[in-house]
Amino acid sequence: MTMTKRKTITRRDFLRGTVYTALGGTLGSTLGKEAKGEEKVKVVLIRDENAIDSRGQIDQRIIQKMLDQGVCEFLGEKNPVQAWEKLIKPSDVVGIKSNVWHYLPTPEGLENAIVKRVIDAGVPKKNIGIDDRGVLNNPIFKSSTALINVRPLRTHHWSGIGGCIKNYVMFVSVPWLYHSEACSPLGSIWNKPIVKGKTRLNILSLIRTQFYNRGAHHFDRRFVSEYKGLLIGNDPVALDAVGSRLLQLQRIAHFGEDRPLDNPPIHIFVADEKYKLGVSNLRRIEIVKLGWTEGTLL
């Protein structure tokens, strides 16, 4: 489909199916249907049922294994160090953009696993930084030559979902200026000099996902799933589109029906159509699935 920049998306577009199902609260899945003649974007979904132990603790060793297998699959390498050497040069200054939201932060074990492989790729530890809300004042991020974008997947009040695209909102000094029209402008942040062209890998943590908003801080333990997965790729739009669909399927599985997001994640579609950041059409995304298959949904 085509869309001019001034096109107003309404509920009727969803009903017609002219806005892709990645935007949630829409018609049935288009996953699995072939898109003829179109190049597909590859994302890797890897899951391990032992990623969280019986005490609810995330197993660092398993996370490392999942990350390594996922990145190897994504890059077509057998050895994780060689795979990371494709992503990162020893001379790079690497910012790992994480997410510290109190209720569902990026798992520390995942951050550690990334740091280990960046070091293995030859980057001195002093040239690696992990940050979220302080990125604009962090010397590593200010001088970074490479970024790794990693955060958990969750629903979000204003933007529909919090995924890879939204994770860069801390690279602007006034984040709430990007909240208009269901956060549609979020994709524009990726064209700012501090981040433009620097992102080598996007990782959406699906170890735990929050699939529905409720509660004082839009967090309710009842609506958190232990999905025990990672979604890996270099297209943040494709990862978020798949993530959005997953959250929709998790709501359907939990409630027996879909319940709308606070706002449909229009920003994913706009990041594709307007900012040309990646692919939001699920028909054009190939999900390579590895590992544990129970309850995959996708």
């Binding site: 998306i9 269901a182 409720r214 004082a216 801080h217 309710d220």
Partner: protein, 275 residues
């Protein structure tokens, strides 16, 4: 506000580290969640923790919402769980009690959701609500809603299109020209036989002129194919219909027929005309 929150509730004591956040500071406490409260006339948030030896602490977030209509509005945002008889309206689920009374809205919750913690959370909620002596009025728009078939607990009150979109997505753009000075109600009318739902959107603008502008904008963006009839069969096979009356807009979504949509519009108009 401090006077409304007791220092002691049975075995629980305030930990004396109260925090206060005004409208502009609320992001420091709630990050993105603050925007929901700021979509209403929220003025001040007081946060107090109640502690009891050997028990998880209980947190109270007590909001001065500026007026009772907006206290009801923020409460009406989510009413999916159990009404537990606290304040003028309450909702308990997952360890969280939400209630409103007067111009105040409160979240009361514990880290654990056990039967005993539920009792403690409700007890603290009751004590606080009883401290608020003056009851508040619900939004006046509610009285215009046709009562037949209305799901009372589904009534949502709001000002901004983002909040409307949470309840019923219309457009990512503000095609109804909603703002701080507009008042809106979304009401649900479940159909007993089909289990389908009709939605009635009732909007009040500051002036006839602004209502007319919003009316034209909505027709152009949402139902350009219904210029004459003001009713349209949408792509889900249901009917949408709209009407402007003075500074009010009435829109029905998802009616099973044009007649059903018209009946709901007419019933609402009767209420408005008799006001």
């Amino acid at each position: 506000m401090k006077k409304l929150l007791p220092l002691v509730v049975e075995d629980y004591r305030a930990d004396k580290k109260d925090e206060f956040y005004n409208r502009d500071q609320s992001f420091r406490y709630m990050d993105g969640a603050a925007e929901l409260y700021r979509a209403y006339a929220f003025k001040l948030l007081m946060v107090r923790k109640y502690v009891k030896r050997g028990h998880p602490s209980i947190l109270v977030e007590f909001f001065d919402m500026g007026n009772s209509e907006d206290a009801f509005g923020i409460f009406s945002y989510q009413t999916e769980d159990e009404e537990v008889g606290v304040g003028q309206g309450s909702d308990y689920g997952g360890g969280l009690l939400r209630f409103w009374r007067g111009k105040y809205f409160a979240n009361v919750y514990a880290e654990q959701d056990t039967p005993s913690m539920r009792n403690d959370v409700l007890k603290i909620g009751h004590v606080i609500s009883e401290k608020v002596k003056r009851k508040g009025q619900k939004p006046s728009l509610i009285r215009f809603l046709p009562s037949e078939g209305l799901s009372e607990r589904s009534i949502r009150y709001f000002h901004l299109h983002q909040v409307l979109n949470h309840h019923y997505f219309i457009s990512h753009q503000n095609i109804l020209h909603l703002g701080e000075r507009t008042n809106g109600i979304l009401a649900t009318y479940p159909q007993q036989q089909t289990k389908e739902k009709n939605f009635l959107l009732l909007l009040q603008y500051p002036s006839k002129k602004l209502a007319e502008t919003a009316f034209q904008s909505f027709v152009k963006a949402y139902m350009p194919d219904a210029i004459d009839s003001r009713a349209i069969k949408t792509e889900n096979g249901k009917w949408a219909s709209m009407k402007i009356y003075q500074q009010y807009l009435l829109i029905v979504f998802d009616a099973s027929s044009e007649e059903k949509a018209g009946e709901l519009i007419k019933a609402t108009l009767r209420g408005l005309e008799g006001k």
